[in-house]
Each structure stands twice: as C-alpha cells, then as structure tokens.
Subunit: 394 residues, 2 copies
C-alpha cells in the first residue's frame, strides 16, 4: 500500500513501555502560572470526547461565552476562545487589527510588551516602543505624549506584566485612544479575574487572557474579546488576515457570535480543554467576581506582609502598581536564587519562579491565582521561601 | 483599585449554575475525527497540572518526541508538537518554509488543498494550484508536469484528503522534488498511523498530523516534523517567521531538538493534552505499527464490503486511491442525507458525517481510526447506516 514496505526504519521506542506516564500528584504551583486546578476542573478533562459540530459542544461553547462576558465584564458579542495558548491570542489580536505597514504603539516595561513589539515586526507592521524601566508602569501623561507623537492605529498595553509584577492602570486610557482615533488592545493574561476590571467601562477594544491563571482551567486555550470598534476595523480590512485559524471573521461564526451566524466547520478545537474551562467558569460565577477580587487582594496583602516581614523587599516600588496575582521580590544581593527555587521544589514540592527576561536573576515571582489564592497556600509558600533562603545562605 | 468600581456591569450568568457540564457518555464517533479515545487516554486528561518548565514535563515531551519519530517513521530531530489544532500545524509549515513572494505548488482535489492555497495567499506567498476532480488523486506524471511549469520552492500534497476519501500515492514524489530543487510538504492529518508510511523513505521534508485521529489522543495539538533540507531552508530565511508561537527556530529549542539546545520558556503548552498524547503513543508502540496498519486495512475492507453489500457505491473509483481511515459513500439520488446522519445520531448515538466543501451533499463519510478501527464498531456503524437510510427513504 502506497509502496512503503512494512519493514520499520525506526524501531519501537522502548522508553515508552518501561513505565506509564509519571506526574507529581501534589505539586503546589505558586509561580506566575499555570496555577493548580480544582478537582472538579481536573475531572472535566477526562470526560468523553464529542465532535466539534455536535449540539452538546455548541451548548458548552455558549456557556463559555456568557461566562467569559461575565469575567471580562463586557457585552461584546465577539467574546470567545482561541484554540491555542495565550501567545496565540496575542497573535490573534495583532493579525486581525493590523495590516502591512500599520503603526502600533506598544508599552514596553517587561517581557510581554517586548514580545508584542517583536510580533508586530514579524507580521509587517510598525511597532513604536514606549518604554519605561521594569518595575514601573506608564502614566496617563506618558501615554498621551506617545499617542501624540506616534499617531498609531492601535495602542497595546500589558495590564499584567507578569515578568516584573507590575499592573498598568488603565483609567482614562480608553478615552485617550478615542481622542486620538486609535484602538486600545490589552493583555490581561496574568490578571483577569483577580482584580476589579471591566472591558466595557475601560473602553478596551481588544483583550485576551489565559485559561490557566486566575480562571483556573488547564492551559492551552485563551479567552479573547473584540469590541464594536475593533470589529468594524476587522470587517473593513483591505488585506486578508495572515492566518486562517485566527481569522476572526470566520472564527466568530463558528462561535455564533452575531445574530444569524450559522455555525460551520472551521477547525477542530480542544474539546477537553473547553470542558475544563466551562467548569472553571462555573466556579467563578458561583463565587462571584466581587468576592474573588476581594480574596485576591486580601491574600496578596497577606503575602506581601509576610515577605516584608522576613526582611525581603518588593520589586515594584509604587504600591498602586503592584499586581495582586504575581508578586515580585528583589533577590537579596549575593543570594543564589536558583538554589532557593530548587530547594523549594525539592523539599516542599512548591514552585516559586525566578525572573523572566530583564528581571532574570533579579527577582523571585510568586503567583496567587484562582484556586491557589487562599491563606493556607500563602502561608505554605512563605514558609517554603523562608526555609529555602536560609538553606541557600549557609 | 485601578479605579474600576466593584459594581458589576454584566450580572452573573445563571445558565452556568443551572446544571453542571453535560457530555454524552457513550457516543461513537465514526466521522472523520475526532475519534473516541481509550479509557487510559481519557483518564490521562485529568492528571494534575504541572509547569511548562518542570523536569517531569520535559521527560514527557521527550517520550512524545521518540513516540512521534516512530509513528512518522523518521529520524528527524525536529519532530515535536504544535500547541494547537492540525490547522495550526498547517500554518506552521507554511510560515516557516515560505517567505513573501515564494511560490508553492499545491495539489487541490478537495477542501484541504484549497485551504492550503488560501493560506499561502494570506501570508503573501504565491500558490499555484494543481487541480483534479474530487475523488481523484494525482499521478506522478501530473505532478512532474506541474513542477516543471511552476518551479516552486515547496510542493504541498495532501496525503489524506478527508473531504473526498482519497489517499495520495507519494511513491517517487520525494525524488521528483529533489530533481526539481523543491521541498516536499505533506498533510497526513487523517491518515498517519493508519497506513504504511515512512517520512524518511518517502523523502518528505515537512509533515504534520492530528492528535485526534488514528493516534487516538484528544484534539487540540498537532504532531509535526521537519527534515534536514527544511531545517536548512528555515535557518537560511531572510525575513522572520510571521508568528512567534510557530517559529520553529525557537520552538525546536523548547523541545530540545538539537544537541546543545538549552530549553527556555517559549510558551505555556497544553500540558493535559501532552499527557493524553503520551498515553496514546504508548498504546501505539505496544501494539506496533505493522499490526495497526494491518488492523486498519482489514477493517476498512470489512466496512467497504458492508457498504457495497447493501447496494451503496464508494465515492472513490480507483481502489488504490481509497483512504482506509476515511471511507466516502456516494449519497444515493433523492436520499435526504441529513435525515440519515440525524437518525444515526438520535437513534444509535453514532456519528456518521456528511460531505465537506465540494463533497457536501454528495457523500457520507465514515471514519475508522485508532480505537474505533475494530470489527464490532464497523458492524455497529453499518447497522446504523442501513437502518437510517431505510428510515430516510420512507
């Protein structure tokens, strides 16, 4: 058949037969994500697979859509899930909003802004970098000045710069973008659900987040939402979107986002991850956003108090700029940070992360997200950090 | 905090609270994929989540890599998984191999070739369409003539045209591509694992498949492999890849594909889907490819005999061009095909698919893949088809 003989060029790899899959059962994920999932969310991942055009999956997708409209606090009909990680949602925002030669203004104060600027360059757009030191956020004045000088089609801001632990205040930015005739796109991968937020009140035109952070679902899919001004820009494009999978004009039909949309086969999405997200969103709705926001704030304060209480310094100087979901701690001079994270993992089975990009070697990062934002976990990670630093010092 | 009040603009959606997630437990998926997973693979989906930079996930990724080298029958070091559906693997092949203005020759005899040509256009390459009727494959002579006239950088062929049920014979095509100095890229989404095949013997330079077809893992990730000639082209690119997530120069490092690669954080992959794929590949290695190929051939023959035995006609005329994993059946004149598939689903909880693209309304499609390619399932789907056609006729 097909002329290929049945003789095997590559023999069966015996390493797959030696043992079944081995996964640690009790690891506590206190890095910047993925976070641990609840038992209910984990269990949903092994429900039977159904087809991507079956009535039951459409119902689950509809549930996910309204759940996400709630978490995003938006009435955007184009609220759905990208079938890939948060990185792919970033690409979806850029390839849909930008065409060859368009200008995007990007706030760069850590890894994520830098990544967005790189991606704009890759797809043939012009990225203007508005920069500040890692650990700082941008003021409204800085943003307005950059809008005036660059006159972009899109302003891109990272709300949760998880590489530095900075939260960008977005009050008034939406109005500025309307004043200067540009769209506002925002990355909330590490924050959405964990801080008071409303896409519509903040006048954000395009936004995405991760499934595996505050929402508490498995990684691999990314919630996204486009507002009416963004939809208009997408519908008025002169050139096709440089991706089929990410073309929102098609994908939004599969998600039946607009009245009259007749769902058609677009791609086969990760059905099991949809199950997990549906379960995770149910838990979010049950607890309620205000309670979840409060829980994250209280536990972030408990964590910060514990950190400063053991003589360590928070990396983000301005308390108003501190992200509750990812706390960054300055690595004390002379301390072997790798020995600390290694010890925390080996002795306590707890993940504490190092820095990323410009903060590599300079900070520890502790995540408090969703299922992990509870006092007992704060206390466990603080105890592990204390013991691990003590160990690394001697 | 961030100036957003805790008042909710969007109230909690009560539809998520009315009931927990509802998924049919016993549905038999006999369409062109996704296929049913084994209980072991399903169970793996709910193992605890670990981090994307933990030693345990690297070990699982290494196991997946050697498992995929076995299924692809290749020694390519750049053999890994794209963190997205098969569609994204298609995009990965194109954005890595093609630059602005490059020419790709695409065999178009159904939906998939058409999709590839569309995608080439989207990313700024030139797609030359080599066409034949749905239900036909391309001869070596046709391929050589098209290579001579178009002199492409890449020849793209769909090995398993699941919209028509055609399998493309690839014998000799690799040699032709070397003769005319182009790369050979192949889509095996619906076939890999189910028919005798070797990437290296066939001299294929870039190839991908789906997780949710013959391999029997959940949907949402896509195995891919690039040979040395493709790697050379990728490393010699003059312009950056139009995607960060799909940039193989970066992704291959996260997968530690080359000696000396030091894994770095690239993106957060769908950890749970990796678990499922690892389990599915273990089962493939346990049974062995020759036995799996034989099982698919035998059950495809059983299915075809049953179909012709009830007076129905196979859509693909040439027996040598028939894909064992997706069998297409001509819809008898005057028969309401939608009533047939609906009845099969409602009465038997069995998925039988209609056509796709140019075959819509013209064929039924029955998939026999992995966990479902067994005589008892063939007999169940045949019985359901017979009863449903009888019902639709009267």
């Amino acid at each position: 058949m097909n002329g290929v003989s049945h003789d095997l060029l590559v023999p069966p790899p015996t390493q797959l037969l030696k043992e079944r899959i081995q996964v640690p059962q009790k690891r506590l994920l206190m890095g910047p994500g993925p976070s641990n999932c609840s038992p209910e969310v984990c269990a949903a991942g092994s429900l039977p697979i159904i087809g991507h055009m079956h009535a039951e999956i459409f119902r689950i997708m509809d549930d996910i859509k309204v759940g996400l409209q709630y978490v995003f606090q938006t009435e955007n009909p184009w609220t759905l899930v990208i079938s890939g990680p948060g990185h792919l949602a970033m690409e979806a925002v850029l390839v849909n909003l930008l065409e060859q030669g368009d200008t995007m203004l990007v706030g760069v104060n850590g890894l994520w802004g830098d990544r967005v600027a790189d991606l704009a360059f890759r797809i043939g757009a012009k990225a203007v970098r508005m920069e500040t030191e890692p650990g700082n956020a941008f003021s409204l004045q800085e943003i307005e000045a950059a809008l005036v000088s660059s006159r972009p089609k899109v302003l891109f801001l990272v709300h949760s710069e998880s590489s530095t632990g900075v939260m960008q205040n977005l009050d008034g930015v939406g109005d500025l973008c309307r004043k200067y005739g540009c769209l506002l796109a925002v990355d909330t991968v590490a924050s959405l659900g964990g801080v008071p937020f409303s896409v519509d009140k903040l006048k954000i035109d395009a936004i995405y987040t991760g499934s595996q952070k505050v929402i508490g679902a498995p990684p691999g899919i990314a919630p996204i939402s486009f507002g009416p001004r963004a939809v208009e820009v997408i519908k008025g494009r002169k050139t096709p979107v440089k991706s089929f999978l990410l073309d929102m004009k098609l994908l939004s039909v599969y998600w039946a986002c607009s009245p009259g949309d007749v769902r058609f086969y677009h791609h086969t999405p990760p059905i099991n991850l949809f199950y997990g997200l549906r379960e995770a969103l149910t838990a979010v709705v049950e607890e309620g956003l205000p309670a979840i926001w409060k829980r994250h704030e209280e536990n972030a304060n408990r964590l910060r108090d514990g950190i400063t209480g053991m003589g360590l310094e928070l990396f983000v100087k301005n308390p108003a700029d501190r992200l509750p979901t990812v706390t960054t701690i300055r690595v004390p001079e002379g301390l072997d940070w790798k020995a600390v994270t290694k010890h925390a993992m080996e002795k306590f089975d707890i993940e504490i992360a190092g820095g990323l990009g410009l903060t590599a070697g300079r900070v520890f990062r502790i995540g408090l997200m969703g299922y992990n934002a509870y006092p007992e976990k704060v206390d466990r990670v603080l105890a592990a950090l204390k013991d691990s630093i003590k160990m690394a010092k001697y």
